[in-house]
């Protein structure tokens, strides 16, 4: 099972902190990103990470393994 984790503002926009999408194991970064249309407004303000590693939001295919973690990380600016 693959987990998509939403942090900070993306969790608010998506309305959840974690989900486990089903479907093919091969997906592009953009396909994963577009799971939640509400996130479109912060597209240029996120670090998109797969297996805890930065991935460019593009069409390149990712082969996801069970247990993989996809993280959507907008910057937080508070302090």
């Amino acid at each position: 099972m693959v987990s998509v984790l939403y942090f900070a503002r993306s969790a608010e926009l998506a309305g959840l902190r974690c989900e486990n999408p089903l479907g093919p194991r091969q997906k592009s970064a953009l396909q994963l990103w577009r799971r939640s249309v509400k996130l479109a407004v912060i597209r240029d303000q996120v670090v998109f990470a797969v297996r805890q590693e930065y991935v460019l939001l593009g069409d390149q295919l990712l082969l996801l393994q069970p247990g993989d973690e996809v993280a959507i990380i907008p910057p937080i600016s508070g302090g």
Partner: protein, 440 residues
């Protein structure tokens, strides 16, 4: 001739001593500097270190290093205790800027009367801890004109600020001045730490090329941060600064540290290297001087509790006007859109409560409830004109978002509704109308 040479030598000695005296005076002066001076007060000469100080620092930091700490809210606070008994002591400076309107989100360790310049009290307390470290407090909001000059005077910069424009400003200034930036941030139960512009790593813009639209930035009205979380991130920032200053280096130019307090978990996210086409640190940068960051981000740095302008003025009323309407007993519905926790603290008795989140989700149950309340109130009037719904929140930002949602509700079910927001929200109500209403 010999007497002449001796006199010249003595005169040179006098000049040297006078310089030293000026430097020492500068250190002793209640170092409360207004604005951003062009130059730092001189560091005392190395020979001014006492034997005890040399013993204390010789095994620690040998090179003088200076650190600019931008912001002294929750993130800036922990620096005090970190530098108090340094296992590592930096021979340098501890600098903070002071925000004219630093409000809300009080850090766990913050003390001092309201409105008192925090940089001064922070620096004063640091000075008491460790006399070999010099602290220079700055007062004022860092702007495009002062930032680069200031950043150039230091070796390492720590961003402890609390708003988006300052983050872009400080990052760009560090790229232009070639200084590493230890950036920490925290909101609610999350914290982040990255070292930007360091050893081929990215800058802030490499990761986040565009600022978020201002109305998607969580403001202090519905944000807030736990002092412990800023404390943890602030301490880690201080640690990374010391590692960089000592030459050990930091690995957070390759990784972003994320702290999730709810889950109790730290994550290291591997970052990209710097972007070849980055607007500021790339191969052919388009940004070669500092800009207007408040315009770039569409929000103000000194006012992190931004006041949004989402509605035209015809869709808004003042608290004074609303008071008149109440006194005139004009039929209406007052809708409070704050989160439940805030409503539990205080509320206007006659208000209908629906959190903004539920409106955004078009929650059936809540919308039916609202519809019912509007119908009930409407029965008291025989007028067929649009029925007024006034929307209130804490500061008047969320209420505008709510009005926009109400304006799009189907007329068929809700009838004709005239939604307006109450400017400045309940806090304006507390200051201008009812002084007994709690301010929080």
């Amino acid at each position: 001739a010999m007497a002449g040479a001796a006199a010249a030598r003595l005169r040179a000695e006098i000049r040297r001593r006078e310089r030293e005296l000026r430097g020492l005076r500068e250190r002793l002066r209640p170092s409360w500097l207004l604005g951003f001076p062009a130059e730092l007060p001189p560091l005392p000469a190395r020979s001014a270190l006492s034997a005890a100080e040399i013993l204390r620092y010789s095994r620690q930091l040998v090179l003088p290093d200076s650190v600019l700490v931008v912001g002294c809210g929750g993130l800036g606070c922990p620096w005090r205790s970190t530098w108090r008994r340094p296992a590592w002591a930096a021979w340098g400076w501890w600098i903070t800027t002071w925000w004219r309107r630093a409000t809300a989100a009080a850090g766990a360790a913050r003390r001092g009367a309201r409105g008192r310049p925090k940089a001064r009290s922070a620096a004063a307390r640091c000075g008491g801890f460790n006399s070999a470290v010099q602290y220079v407090p700055y007062r004022g909001a860092l702007g495009p004109r002062s930032a680069l000059r200031l950043v150039r005077q230091y070796d390492i910069v720590a961003d402890c600020s609390d708003n988006v424009p300052t983050r872009y400003l400080v990052s760009d200034a560090c790229v232009l001045a070639g200084k590493p930036l230890v950036s920490g941030s925290a909101l609610r139960l999350e914290g982040q730490l990255v070292v930007y512009n360091y050893r081929g790593g990215p800058c802030y813009r490499c990761l986040f090329p565009e600022p978020p639209p201002p109305d998607t930035v969580t403001n202090c009205a519905d944000g807030g941060v736990l002092g412990v979380v800023t404390g943890i991130i602030g301490c880690m920032q201080a640690l990374e600064v010391l590692k960089i200053a000592s030459g050990m280096g930091s690995s957070f130019h390759q990784y972003m540290l994320m702290f999730d307090a709810l889950e109790g978990r730290f994550r290291n996210i591997k970052l990209r290297p710097k972007k070849a086409d980055c607007a500021v640190c790339g191969d052919s940068p388009s940004i070669t001087c500092l800009q207007d960051y408040e315009a770039f981000c569409g929000s103000s740095a000194t006012d992190k509790c931004r006041t949004l302008q989402l509605l035209p003025s015809k869709d808004r009323i003042s608290v004074e006007r609303y008071k008149e309407l109440l006194d005139e007993r004009v039929p209406h519905v007052l809708l409070d859109v704050r989160p439940q926790v805030e409503v539990d603290i205080c509320r206007l008795e006659h208000a209908v409560h629906i959190p903004l989140r539920k409106l955004e989700e078009k929650d059936e149950e809540y919308l039916q409830y609202l519809q019912k309340r509007i119908r009930e109130e409407k029965q008291r009037t025989d007028e067929q004109t649009s029925f007024p719904v006034y929307v209130i929140c804490k500061l008047g930002n969320d209420s505008q978002k709510a009005v926009k949602i109400l304006q799009e509700l189907p007329v068929k079910e809700f009838g004709s509704v005239l939604a307006k927001d109450i400017k400045g929200g309940l806090m304006a109500w507390a200051t201008k109308i009812d002084s007994t209403f709690p301010q929080y």
